[in-house]
């Protein structure tokens, strides 16, 4: 801990031993203000959201979380169906995206010939740069009809014994479409972070393993995976955070239905999508306040997810003795 003490000491008096110059002072002031500004902004947002949600919180309390109704006419609101929709879409996307992303990362670091790596890496990162509304539009016009016509019936006939792959109804826009769209959106996040992690595996370790006569797969399993495990977990959680918070693309393809259905081929809704869809749709003060309540739940989720990701990174780097 001594080294840590030294570093904090240095930050407290950054210019000790040097003549204080005006330029440095200004720089310090401007940068400090910027940092402070971000803190104030987060605080203000949280405060406004809590203030907005107050009416709904005092009316419904925690019962809000267990009721799956959104009825502006009778002024009754609950978040259960959006919580369920958020959970199944984001975890569903994570389950689909993780193996593919790790496959991409391994291919790009260990298996692909060098002349392929550059272009494919660039392409994967480009996928992350596509605006979500564009993915959503493509989701409505191309992906949803394709899944509905060619994929969902096959999934139902093969995996129909699992309730989530129930009979494909008539709705092109459904929970499963949203899962696939989210998968595409979080795939590049997990893939590019995992790629960097696999790249950071010391080559002496890898060469040592190969020198001991392991196959490539054994080397990956024995050296790369344990080395990168914590980081990959953090990447997954960051992807999960993105999936939980995504609103527009999901709103475009999920079908905006309030209610809980086990069958993924039925329409549903998520916290983010509901806020995005009905912020102009609240007819009553209680309805508007309930939207803030949804936003508050979403805010808490994303903060928790981010903290967990940071925690995992810190623990795994400590375990490996990497100074970060």
């Amino acid at each position: 801990m001594t080294s840590l003490d030294v570093s904090t000491d240095a930050t407290r008096r950054p210019f000790s031993g040097r003549r204080v110059r005006l330029g440095d002072l200004i720089l310090q002031g401007v940068a400090g203000l910027a940092a402070l500004g971000s803190l104030v902004l987060v605080g203000l947002i949280a405060w406004k959201v809590i203030q907005g949600a107050r009416l709904s919180i005092s009316t419904f309390g925690f019962g809000f979380l267990t009721h799956d109704i959104w009825d502006p006419v009778h002024d009754k609101f609950g978040a259960a169906s959006f919580l369920y929709g958020t959970a199944v879409t984001s975890f569903g996307a994570l389950i689909l995206a993780t193996p593919i992303a790790i496959g991409i990362a391994l291919f790009l670091t260990e298996l692909a010939p060098p002349w392929i790596r550059g272009p494919v890496t660039a392409l994967v990162e480009t996928l992350a740069a596509i605006p979500s509304v564009v993915i959503g539009l493509w989701g409505i016009l191309v992906l949803a009809p394709f899944l509905h016509r060619d994929v969902n019936p096959v999934l139902h006939s093969v995996l129909g014994f699992i309730p989530i792959f129930g009979p494909p109804g008539t709705y092109q826009e459904n929970v499963f479409t949203a899962i696939v769209v989210l998968t595409m959106m979080i795939l590049p996040i997990i893939a590019s972070i995992s790629r960097e992690l696999f790249l950071s595996v010391p080559s002496e370790l890898k060469e040592g393993a190969l020198g001991l006569g392991t196959t490539r797969w054994e080397m990956i399993r024995g050296v790369s995976f344990p080395y990168a495990r914590g980081g990959v977990a953090a990447a997954m959680i960051l992807g999960l955070g993105r999936a939980i918070g995504e609103a527009i693309a999901v709103a475009q393809v999920i079908g905006a239905f309030t209610g809980i259905s086990i069958n993924f081929f039925n329409p549903g809704n998520t916290l983010g999508a509901q806020v995005a869809l009905s912020y102009t749709g609240s007819q009553t003060p209680l309805g508007e306040s309930s939207l803030f309540y949804l936003a508050l739940i979403l805010l808490v989720f994303s903060i928790v997810v981010n903290l967990v990701a940071q925690l995992i990174v810190r623990r795994s780097s400590r375990r490996l003795g990497i100074a970060r």
Binding site: V73, G169, T170, Q172, T258, L277, T280, G281, S282
Partner: protein
């Protein structure tokens, strides 16, 4: 890494250029908004948007006013005028339906049209399907789920209805069209009235939600077996099937000029707040040709409209008189004389 540094410098340079450019545009924009007085900005109903779009050209050439309209739904329109974000808000639902609402607004009925029940079944071979209010309510309650259900078959004898499932489509945003549609269903179905009710957004028992009229029309167009509701013009433009609705007199009526005109006669003397209701006219001889899902649609303006008052008043006076002649090609029926007279009085209440 020198190569990296160069990239960063280029990227930063581009970002800086972008920021300067957008700043320039913003300042130019505010400058022009200040200098040219002939701009009126509105927002709201997507139902009335086809008519407002028709008005833009003539308003520019005849009045010298640039009319901007953001079709973000009726609830969005009422919000925009309540917060003074726009010069006018357009809504198909009367102001009394909103809470919070604009208490300092004048409500002016400025257009008249019908909500069409649209469908896509049988790949265009099934034209002019017949429908009644109670059966429509059953479909939107999720009780009737197949196109060849006995209740639909009975209304359409001789038509080869397939066993396709019905895909129910509704609006997901706050919508005056939804208000008109659910108001009608509440009139014809007790179950609907007690279980769901009337509103600009409701707790739908079934179906999928789409944003704006264009979203509903687009989804119905691309989904075999779909049913939805939009302003007639969206149905015509998208070549969608339009239900022929049974009215209380027992006649099956299309949402066309004659049907709307007959329904409009039900209420031509607005209440004190300017609202009118012409849904589901009674069975009397006078309304034998009335289409049952018609609505007046309103423009809402702040009584104290500030610096732009003169232009707003000129625009709306034009809209309720000359503007009406642009309606019929897109199935907006001209306002009855009594309503225009009322509107002129309402417009006088607007001042700077």
């Amino acid at each position: 890494m020198p190569r990296n540094g160069k990239f960063v410098r280029i990227a930063l340079g581009l970002a800086a250029v972008g920021m300067v450019a957008s700043l320039a545009v913003i300042t130019a924009g505010t400058a022009s908004a200040k200098t040219s007085s002939g701009t009126v900005n509105g927002a709201g109903s997507t139902f009335v948007a086809p008519l407002v779009n028709k008005w833009m050209g003539p308003v520019q050439s005849q009045l010298g006013i640039t009319l901007n309209y953001n079709p973000n739904g009726s609830t969005g329109g009422v919000q925009a005028i309540t917060t003074h974000e726009a010069d006018f808000g357009a809504s198909d639902a009367p102001l009394s339906q909103f809470n919070p609402t604009c208490t300092t607004c004048v409500q002016i009925p400025w257009a008249l049209a019908a909500t069409a029940v649209i469908y896509n079944v049988g790949h265009g071979s099934l034209q002019h399907l017949k429908m009644t209010g109670p059966v429509l309510a059953q479909i939107y309650l999720g009780k009737i789920t197949k196109w060849n259900a006995p209740a639909i078959k009975k209304l359409n004898k001789g038509k080869n209805l397939p066993s396709t499932s019905i895909t129910v489509v509704h609006r997901s945003d706050g919508s005056g069209t939804t208000f008109n549609f659910t108001d009608y269903l509440s009139h014809v179905s007790h179950t609907w009235k007690s279980q769901v009710g009337t509103g600009t957004s409701v707790n739908w028992p079934t179906g999928e939600g789409e944003g704006h009229s264009s979203g509903v029309a687009g989804t119905v167009k691309s989904t075999d077996g779909a049913i939805g509701y939009v302003d007639v013009d969206y149905a015509v433009v998208n070549h969608l099937g339009i239900m022929v609705m049974k009215n209380r007199a027992g006649n099956f009526v299309q949402p066309r000029a004659a049907g709307i005109k007959a329904a409009a006669a039900l209420d031509t003397h607005p209440a004190k707040d300017g609202s009118l209701s012409i849904v589901n006219p009674p069975a009397s001889h006078k309304y034998r040709n009335a289409y049952p899902i018609c609505t007046y649609t309103y423009v809402d303006v702040q009584r104290a409209s500030g610096a732009n008052t003169a232009n707003i008043k000129r625009l709306i006076s034009w809209a309720v008189t000359k503007g009406q002649s642009y309606g019929p090609p897109i199935i907006f029926e001209p306002l009855p004389k009594a309503v225009v007279t009322f509107d002129k009085k309402q417009i006088k209440k607007i001042h700077s």
